[in-house]
């Protein structure tokens, strides 16, 4: 393999890299995927079938001490618990820095599959309300593409990946090609009915999720064990190692190179990508993979880091950065606001939800038709209603037999939590910190990001409206939650190498091809011009699919 030249070298094997690998190999191209981490073994690395008493600390919400000290940032993610923490990086090996007083919590997984192993699978299409938001309200830039252009690629991705959900025919949240929806619980039905009757323009629908409610393309239907974020031995939710990578492998055209920690892209004398330079994770030996085309799918911020670390005399500000936008306009969703309470009217009714690996969704209703006086853009709620197993015991008074008996009355709990759009701002950025190196000697990122006034106002509105809707549905003991998590923690980071038609203010064109270097493509969330409020991964894959079509055509005609 020493100096083998691949048609395409893809960096990253996660949600986006898996998709690109599948589509490009199926188009007949010879593809290498460089992946920094190792292959996971479902039988030893996944813990979704373990019960709490199988774990030394009974499934503690934090990693055990030895890892906790190495994961001060990762442990802040709800999924980085005793069961699943080994799916997250050690911060000590993967450091980064932040501007004073501006925390940024960067959550990562480095293994084949990337974050598609731990993700929460919520999958929603964007609409022109999102893609053309700038034209409506004047903030930022439009996407260079329309919903009509993207829709066929959503179809293609969904038909392969499998998205379960309920068609609602909403202009602001187009329907996917759905597998059958999952069921709502009693509490969710009550809230659904209240919203429909009392809140015009709003509705509650079952979450749209990349979990199979029917067998699809050789993958079995979900068996509702529940804790998907610890890995799925059955491959019933979308992760690249369960679906797109095996499809790519089946073509015989895929070389998946693991433990390949990419540092930068190397240009030839003509200024085109020649190869991708990487460090062997185990031996630290420097290596190079040659390709006619390079596709970065390392996830938004790692892709940005690779671009910035690829600076040369020809590209002093970093690769594909003649516009200067690379690293800028960093966005993540805002979260931490909503409301919760109990539903005493359902007392005694058993919870049919069992281990449903999905919640409910209240699609965006702000700035859909009428402009909101306080803020631009909007948010959606994720939530659920279920019977508490035993966590309600913490808040109950007393001790002894009466206490134990009282815990047997298991309350129905319900919550709504908002996920909102954050605005693209040039000052929210990351750059290379020249003083920092990771465990492989590669310069690290420094973040300088804070949410602004628009986001703060939206956070308040999220809490107000969650409270109001729950109250209307008869929810008791309502607790408002009006916090804003630091950026990063929503794990929907996007935007630091945005796409656009104008090479002066975007890094890649409408086909995600670098304006500066024609055989370089970015196919992850880095290309987002605005964040919308929907979870990004489905759109990232649809965009990648569209870009792959273009790339294949360019190679066929010899244009790249």
């Amino acid at each position: 393999m020493a100096n083998e030249v691949f048609d395409v070298v893809i960096v990253g094997s996660g949600a986006s890299g898996g998709w690109a690998a599948k589509q490009l190999t199926e188009s007949g191209l010879k593809v290498a995927v460089l992946e920094a981490g190792r292959r996971l073994d479902p039988s030893t690395d996944f813990t979704e079938h373990k019960l709490a008493h199988d774990m030394p600390l009974r499934g503690s919400e934090h990693p055990p001490k030895a890892w906790r000290d190495e994961q001060p940032i990762q442990k802040l993610c709800y999924q980085c618990d005793e069961y699943a923490h080994e799916l997250f990086v050690k911060d000590t090996e993967h450091p980064y820095t932040t501007a004073a007083g501006k925390p940024f919590q960067w959550i990562r997984g480095r293994h084949v599959g990337g974050k598609s192993i731990m993700w929460a699978r919520q999958s929603y299409r964007l609409s022109d309300l999102d893609l053309k938001a700038a034209s409506r309200d004047g903030w930022g830039v439009d996407w260079p593409i329309t919903y009509a252009e993207l829709a066929p690629y959503y179809d293609r991705v969904e038909n392969f990946v499998g998205i379960s959900g309920q068609a609602e025919n909403l202009p602001q949240l187009p329907d996917s090609r759905f597998l059958p929806p999952m069921e709502l619980t009693c509490g969710e039905r009550m809230l659904q009915r209240t919203i429909k009757e009392r809140f015009p323009g709003r509705l509650l629908t079952i979450g749209r999720t990349a979990v199979l409610t029917k067998a699809l393309n050789g993958r079995p239907a979900c068996h509702y064990c529940g804790p998907c974020g610890r890995g799925c031995s059955a491959g019933s939710y979308y992760s690249s190692p369960a679906s797109t990578l095996p499809a790519a492998d089946a073509t015989g055209k895929l070389s998946l190179i693991t433990n390949a920690v990419v540092s930068h892209v190397v240009l030839d004398d003509a200024g085109r990508c020649r190869s991708v330079a990487y460090v062997d994770r185990m031996t630290r030996a420097p290596r190079e993979a040659f390709g006619k085309v390079v596709v970065l799918c390392a996830s938004t911020l790692e892709t940005t880091r690779i671009l910035l670390n690829s600076s040369s005399s020809r590209a002093p500000n970093g690769l594909s950065n003649s516009s200067g936008v690379v690293g800028k306009y960093l966005m993540d969703h805002i979260m931490g606001s909503g409301a919760k309470g109990t539903l005493p009217v359902l007392k005694g009714i058993p919870d049919p939800r069992a281990h449903r690996p999905n919640g409910v969704y209240v699609p965006r209703f702000r700035n859909v038709t009428d402009p909101h006086p306080a803020f631009l853009r909007g948010y959606g709620y994720q939530g659920s209603a279920e019977v508490s197993k035993w966590a309600h015991a913490f808040a109950m008074p007393g001790f002894g037999a009466s206490f134990k008996n009282a815990v047997r009355q298991r309350p129905w709990t319900i919550h709504l939590s908002g996920f909102g759009e954050s605005l693209a701002r040039v000052e929210n950025r990351c750059e290379i910190d020249k003083d920092g190196r990771d465990a492989w000697g590669i310069p690290v990122l420094r973040f300088d990001m804070a949410f602004g006034d628009n986001e703060k106002k939206m956070i308040k509105d999220m809490a107000d409206n969650a409270e109001e809707m729950l109250k209307a549905a008869g929810v008791q003991d309502i607790e408002r939650e009006e916090d804003m998590a630091p950026p990063g923690l929503a794990i929907h980071e996007v935007g630091t190498a945005r796409m656009g038609d104008d090479p002066k203010n975007s890094a890649v064109n409408r086909w995600q091809q670098s304006h500066d270097v024609r055989n370089l493509f970015l196919m992850d969330g880095s290309v987002y011009p605005s964040s919308a409020c929907q979870n990004p991964t489905l759109t990232i894959m649809a965009l990648a699919s569209r870009a792959c079509d273009y790339l294949v055509e360019q190679l066929r005609t010899g244009a790249v």
């Binding site: 709490a52 008493h53 059955a234 491959g235 919870d351 049919p352 939800r353 069992a354 035993w390 015991a393």
Partner: protein, 216 residues
């Protein structure tokens, strides 16, 4: 949680509904079939695991361990189901302390000492040697935040900690899960049920027309 009355599904039916053997084999692991089989056989009469007989505490000394046993059983006692002592909550508490950051472990040990000190003051003996009535009286003081006098503040705080650990240790134990929560630990469900109460806005349960025969 397995809902009581959930229909029992045969292994073959389960595999069929999951799509195994129908829509080709799972792309990733062959072990799924084995897992489903294991579930079908093991569930619901799983044999509880046997705790190690030669266990010794790592983070607690023998007296502290005895105190934890007494406290946990007072918090969740044996009733018609086993209590915290029987499910060995003390071993869980010891594991947590062994894993805890040093400052937290120290605070917990201080709390244990506080309980003994207060017990000696009130009853002239260490907590484990006080009568059940005396133990209950002491816990009644520290379990009501309203009683937060300066003297009992540390005790109230400590009680919050031991109570939380007892709750976790008890309800996540195998016995707590099965006997108290009536959760049989099932992890394979052939289908997912939803609300079937029209009064909540749910769909009434589907009734299959009796005449409809299976085509073969």
């Amino acid at each position: 949680m397995a809902t009581p009355g959930r229909p029992v599904v045969s292994r073959r039916e389960l595999l069929r509904r999951l799509g195994i053997g129908v829509a080709a084999t799972p792309v990733w692991v062959a072990s799924l079939t084995a897992l489903a089989e294991q579930q079908a056989h093991v569930h619901p009469a799983a044999v509880p695991s046997v705790p190690a007989a030669n266990w010794v505490p790592k983070a607690l000394d023998a007296h502290q361990n005895e105190t934890v046993i007494a406290l946990s059983e007072l918090i969740i006692p044996q009733t018609d189901t086993p209590g915290a002592k029987a499910v060995l909550v003390n071993r869980f508490v010891d594991a947590v302390l062994d894993d805890a950051d040093e400052a937290d472990a120290r605070a917990f040990r201080r709390g244990l000492a506080w309980i003994d000190a207060r017990s000696s003051e009130l009853f002239g003996v260490a907590f484990v040697r006080a009568t059940p009535e005396q133990q209950t009286a002491l816990l009644t003081i520290v379990s009501s935040p309203a009683n937060r006098t300066l003297a009992d503040r540390d005790g109230v705080e400590f009680f919050g900690a031991i109570k939380a650990l007892t709750i976790i240790g008890y309800y996540t134990s195998e016995v707590g899960m099965r006997e108290e929560l009536h959760d049989d630990g099932q992890i394979f469900f052939a289908s997912l049920e939803g609300c079937t109460h029209p009064e909540h806005g749910g769909n009434a349960p589907a009734v299959l027309p009796a005449t409809k025969k299976r085509k073969s």
